[in-house]
Symmetry: none
């Protein structure tokens, strides 16, 4: 198994930072491990301060629900099955995109959480890190 | 840069209070600096007690998201991209109007948060302070 | 009764700020009313960020316990009667000096809370505001 | 002023990690900026999970009190002036060593927080980062 060590987290964050620079949006980037514990966090200069919390909670949501947070967005809409899930877990569940699980052989071993731009931009940056993880 | 010092905050709050008196609605008024730290807060006599928290959190939301909270209202509706953002950040994100960033040369250097009346009244009072800031 | 209105709070804070400037220590200064609700808060430039919370909670402690927080310090020591009180009230009870009730005819009608220097300096500045209140 | 940018934070953390490897104790290492906002956090493999929170709160304590947390330990003992300060600020004040302010020309511009070993080990690692900052 590729455990989400600090070395792996540094590579994932470096990849995310490079993508964030490419699209010119400063981001907060988080990596959590299989136990939903923080491995590393970087706030790029001038990134939104609200994103310090949101990026971490996107990673928490993705690893603890084994879902990307785009899917949580769909499932948490009024009338959908997980409506209200954002109120649980002391407010740590984020219900919009930017948190993606890290998977190996179908097993969730960690997650990446990105916040700082539009949801689309956050997903772009988080996806770059996830793709890099899959190539390890 | 016009840093959001206590002297600046006092002027902003005085302007907001004057506007609140004009429209005859007692308000809670908050000013935060670039680091999302409280600089000053005034509760006018008979203002809503819930507004003590809401005014501060509107200012926090505006500076930490670099958005006015009217825009957060739009983006956080069911089906919109940031649906559920009010659950993040320990409940400090306010999803309706009355928090406005203070900007200088396109850079967010602080925020004003006002609560106590209708959202429209809150925005009117907050806007008066922001206009005053822009004239400094 | 001299209610702790915003006008009164402004006078108390102005007095405290003047004293803080005299002793050359930037302070956070809070005034609460009889209902333990925040009336006004000012953070002087360069005051400690931890004091944003502590100053408010000193005022809360003083009005909600009807005690100055110097007395709370004494009563909360190991072996003393209120040992552990700092753990109650969601951590809002401060167990060292700088919070002083505002009294009128023996009735607590509000409080001042000051933080930013040594406890002795905080007490000096809070006391200046309280003396001013007593002269109203 | 040497602002505590992400690049500076990465250098500080790299220095701290090297020292932690030298003494063979896995650490959690945090860097905060002048506004007490998180810039970067790394958890070395096998570091204590409790240290995720403690390292961040040591940095918060150091920057928000403008004190190293060794000094907070002294001042917060029973009978000392700040007894009970660990209960304030939502429990974010850490009352033992491992948090050290980053200063420039006598001004606190951020802080480092380290947790994972004995307090002496934490201070050793945090001090390595601070010395490196002073050489920038």
């Amino acid at each position: 198994m590729t455990a989400v060590t600090l070395d792996v987290a540094k590579e994932l964050i470096a990849t995310a930072e490079q993508k964030a620079e490419e699209i010119d949006v400063p981001m907060c980037i988080t990596v959590m491990d299989e136990g939903a514990n923080l491995v590393a966090f970087h706030r790029m200069d001038d990134a939104l301060l609200a994103s310090v919390d949101i990026a971490q909670n996107k990673a928490y949501s993705a690893v603890s629900l084994k879902l990307d947070t785009d899917t949580v967005w769909e499932l948490s809409q009024p009338g959908e099955s997980l409506y209200g899930i954002g109120d649980t877990n002391d407010g740590r569940i984020v219900t919009f995109g930017g948190g993606i699980p890290l998977e190996e052989n179908g097993r969730v071993v960690g997650a990446v959480g990105v916040s700082g731009g539009s949801v689309e931009e956050d997903v772009t940056v988080a996806s770059a890190a996830v793709e890099m993880f899959e190539s390890l």
